[in-house]
């Protein structure tokens, strides 16, 4: 199994305190999954079609702000779908690339590692993704706390937040 496949099968987690918060901006998963039109999403005041979209956004926001907030082992976590199922794949892989670039990963050395060492490293990549996502959620959450209408009144809010 190559490196990407090994990362793709990982299922990153997030702090369960963000569960409802994510749902607030995301079309309800389940029966509506993948069937909601852009119009429905707009009418309902939702910004993301799926939870992984918001998760991807959070990782990239964390990366962009260089804000890593590791999930502590004591934190109550929610599991999440595997990375390989996120879409679009180009952005998923860009995220993986960015996390590898940011982290302390010697790729050449990693090739020499034995299985247990390598698995540890790959889990580390997943943890980094979680940390950046957690950082991203923290920024979004703080913004919503600071100004409760920020995401309600401004249809460009998530776009603007990238620049703030």
């Amino acid at each position: 199994m190559n490196l990407l496949d090994r990362i793709h099968i990982k299922e990153p987690k997030y702090d369960s305190k963000y569960y409802q918060f994510i749902l607030n901006y995301t079309i309800e998963q389940g029966s509506r999954m993948g069937t909601s039109t852009e119009e429905e999403k707009y009418e309902r005041g939702k910004y993301f079609s799926t939870r992984y979209e918001m998760y991807m956004y959070a990782v990239l926001l964390g990366l962009r702000k260089n804000y890593e907030l590791p999930l502590e082992s004591s934190t109550d976590k929610k599991s999440f779908i595997k990375i390989g199922a996120w879409n679009p794949e180009t952005i998923t892989n860009y995220i993986i690339m960015s996390v590898i670039a940011k982290g302390d990963y010697d790729l050449f050395e990693m090739e020499e590692m034995d299985e247990s060492e390598l698995e540890k490293k790959i889990t580390e990549i997943k943890s980094d993704i979680e940390s950046f996502a957690n950082g991203g959620f923290d920024i979004i959450y703080a913004k919503a706390q600071e100004d409760e209408n920020y995401f309600i009144e401004n249809e460009n809010s998530f776009l603007d937040l990238l620049d703030e």
Binding site: Y57, A101, L162
Partner: protein, 722 residues
């Protein structure tokens, strides 16, 4: 007598008690459509005639037919239990005798357990008060009838009390009977009709006597009978054709009038159609813009992913990865290079050995034989020479084995990392354009918002223009669409009637010739002389008949002239403030029918008359019918009451009409919406020295528009303006 007071209690929209007081001069009740003007007219009419005019059915309806429509819905709603009374009373004052008469009509309903029962008949009561004495109820039916005629005689009623919608039918120039009825109000023309009818039967009688005599003197009786039969047939056919001709002529007048009416509307109709088409196009553009705008706004967040906006400002990550990937690639290359070096060592070794000698088998053979086969010297085991030969094999194979095992044991991420690198490279290209892409999208959203607002403004403007055109011309969009095709139809109908008229006239002429020839043949069969006296009798009766016919025609024409002259007097007064309306009304006779025309002083017909002009002429004629009556004082004795008489001919003539009416009639009560929105016009009415003004009221419902549907709360507010 003048009408001094109208009191309404729970009548239609007039909830509870309401009073209008009127005086001499022109009294005006102002209100917009649906504010209760017509209901006031209905109330007055109901008291006197126990019926109201139903405009939707274009006819009067009795109390029985109106039933639940007469009583205020609010009065019914607000009464929990018991009787609900609805009544209207009119108070008239006879200034000569100083008597006051009150006509009252009432109808009740009752409510029991929420069920409402309406009386089917109304009750009427008339009271008389002489001077300052107390009022007495009059129960003498004859006296009541006499008083009723004193309020308004039956023959002039259509010309004194009428609604705007009725004007067109009161005087219909196409219907000779409506003009004859009007002429009969001026002077009794029926005696001339009777004289004509008597002479007509005289002619028939003596002609029959003559025919009988002619047949008795015929030399060929069967031939005479045959000719007589033929003449009878031809005459009957002639009658049919004459009738057809009359119908065709009447049809032509109608078609011509319709054509003129449509021609006067065609430009406005075209304008309305153009504006409506503009409206539709703007609506399409508006919807398209709104759709694009919504689509863009809705997809704004989706573009974070579909167009990679979420990667905005992350190109540094790729650069960092690129460095890592370079280091990785270099390390991989180093490893490859090492293997290559070992290979090269081996190759080098090979070059030091004789060509075509297999290696390392050859070297091994040297060790086995303890002899260097290259230099042919001894190399015993344990000697330096032996060790030297042995090292050649060991060095190269061990290093190669070590390197080869290192490569085969390690993971290979090159494929994954190359994929990440290539993907990063592609995304980096996109990232550079994200700002422009976002700016272009936001700019497009702004542009669409501006466009949307502009189209909305234009749309409102066009809608207003259409509404104004519709309000001014009374042509709605649907009518406007039909007008061009209707004009074509009416023009072709006009031309068909013209063709038919020519054809009937031709047939009539030839039939008359045939009848003359048959009559000649019939006369020639007579042998001997006809009784001279009988011949003279026929001759005289025919002359008498002609004289009666021409006298009737002359008297009728004289009355028409008088009507025309009087109508012109009113028309001139009504239009004096309006430069666009000029000319003299001319009632032109056309085969027994009269058509109103506007002519100049030379008698030349002026421009085509539109509907507004025709109604103005009709109104002038209606006034003339009363004012031209000789030896009467009708305009002084009776009150003109009219609901919206001016609505059709526009505000330009409103003041002229009021001046004329206040001059012609001692008292008039006019319901009008013309003064409602136009403040300038209202000021003119209230302040003009030329208008003998009575009372002026403004009426309006207590509920704003939109809530008026809820009639359970409806009442009318009456405000006096002077």
């Amino acid at each position: 007598m003048i009408l001094t007071k109208v009191f309404l209690k729970n009548f239609m929209c007039y909830y509870d008690e309401n009073t209008f007081e009127f005086s001499e001069g022109i009294n005006v009740v102002i209100g917009d459509n649906g504010y209760g003007k017509s209901k006031l007219y209905d109330a007055i009419h109901w008291v006197m005639y126990d019926q109201c005019f139903d405009t939707s059915a274009d006819q009067f309806r009795s109390t029985k037919q109106l039933n639940d429509k007469l009583i205020s819905d609010r009065a019914i709603f607000e009464t929990d239990e018991g009787k609900i009374e609805c009544s209207v009373s009119l108070t008239f004052y006879d200034s000569r005798k100083e008597n006051t008469y009150t006509f009252e009509r009432s109808i009740n309903a009752s409510k029991n357990d929420g069920d409402v029962t309406y009386q089917s008949d109304s009750a009427a009561r008339v009271t008389e008060r002489k001077g300052v004495l107390s009022a007495q109820i009059i129960d003498d039916e004859v006296k009541i009838e006499r008083l009723r005629r004193k309020v308004l005689p039956e023959n002039i009623k259509p010309y004194m009390w009428f609604q705007g919608e009725q004007i067109d039918n009161i005087i219909d120039f196409k219907e000779s009977k409506t003009l004859t009825r009007a002429i009969n109000v001026l002077s009794d023309i029926s005696k001339f009709d009777e004289i004509y009818s008597i002479t007509d039967s005289l002619v028939t009688k003596v002609e029959n006597q003559l025919k009988k005599k002619q047949r008795s003197l015929s030399k060929d009786k069967s031939k005479s009978d045959e000719l007589e039969e033929k003449i009878k047939e031809k005459k009957s056919l002639l009658g049919d054709y004459k009738n057809d001709l009359k119908q065709a002529k009447k049809g032509k007048i109608i078609a011509e009038e319709r054509t003129e009416e449509l021609l006067s509307k065609i430009d406005v109709a075209q304008e309305i159609r153009n504006l409506d088409s503009d409206r539709k196009k703007l609506e399409r553009d508006f919807n398209k813009t709104v759709n694009e705008l919504n689509e863009l706004r809705e997809s704004l967040n989706k573009r974070l992913f579909t167009r990679g906006w979420v990667l905005k400002g992350t190109s540094d990550f790729f650069k960092e990865f690129e460095k890592k990937y370079d280091r990785y690639s270099e390390s991989k290359l180093d490893l490859k290079r090492k293997v290559q070096t070992e290979k090269k060592v081996a190759e080098k070794l090979q070059t030091r050995l004789p060509i075509n000698v297999p290696e390392p088998i050859y070297v091994q053979k040297m060790l086995d034989k303890e002899k260097c086969l290259v230099c042919d010297r001894e190399a015993k085991e344990g000697t330096e020479a032996y060790k030297s030969i042995e090292s050649l094999i060991q060095d190269s194979s061990e290093e190669r084995k070590r390197l080869e095992s290192e490569i085969s044991d390690r993971y290979d991420f090159s494929e994954s990392l190359e994929l990440l690198y290539k993907n990063g490279l592609r995304q980096e290209g996109r990232i550079l354009n994200i700002d422009d892409d976002i700016n272009d999208t936001l700019k497009r959203i702004d542009e669409l918002r501006v466009t949307k607002d502009e189209i909305k403004r234009e749309l409102e403007e066009v809608k207003n223009q259409v509404e104004n055109f519709i309000a001014d011309s009374s042509i709605n969009v649907e009518d406007a669409k039909k007008i061009a095709s209707e004009l074509q139809a009416s023009q072709s109908m006009n031309s068909r009637f013209s063709t038919n008229i020519g054809s009937y006239e031709g047939r009539i002429k030839s039939l008359e010739e045939e009848i003359n020839s048959l009559n000649n043949k019939y006369d020639k069969l007579v042998v001997g002389d006809l009784p001279k006296k009988l011949v003279e009798k026929v001759d005289i009766s025919r002359h008498l008949n002609e004289a009666a016919k021409s006298t009737r025609k002359r008297v009728f024409q004289e009355l028409i002239d008088r009507l025309e002259k009087e109508a012109n007097k009113h028309y001139k007064k009504m239009t004096q403030d309006n430069m666009s309306a000029r000319g003299i009304i001319k009632l032109s006779e056309y085969d027994g029918n009269y058509t109103p025309e506007l002519v100049d002083s030379e008698g030349n017909q002026l421009s085509q008359i539109n509907m507004g002009n025709i109604l103005l002429i009709k109104l002038a004629t209606i006034m003339a019918i009363i004012s031209a009556r000789q030896n009467t004082r009708d305009t002084q004795l009776y009150t003109l009451i009219s609901d919206a008489p001016m609505s059709v001919f526009g505000e330009d003539y409103t003041i002229g009409f009021c001046k004329t009416v206040s001059e012609v009639y001692r008292q008039s009560i006019i319901m009008s919406k013309d003064f409602y929105k136009n403040d300038k016009l209202r000021d003119q009415l209230l302040n003009s020295d030329e208008i003998n003004l009575g009372e002026v009221y403004m009426i309006k419902p207590n509920l704003p528009e939109g809530e008026r549907e809820s009639r359970h709360k409806l009442a009318i507010e009456i405000n006096s303006l002077n």
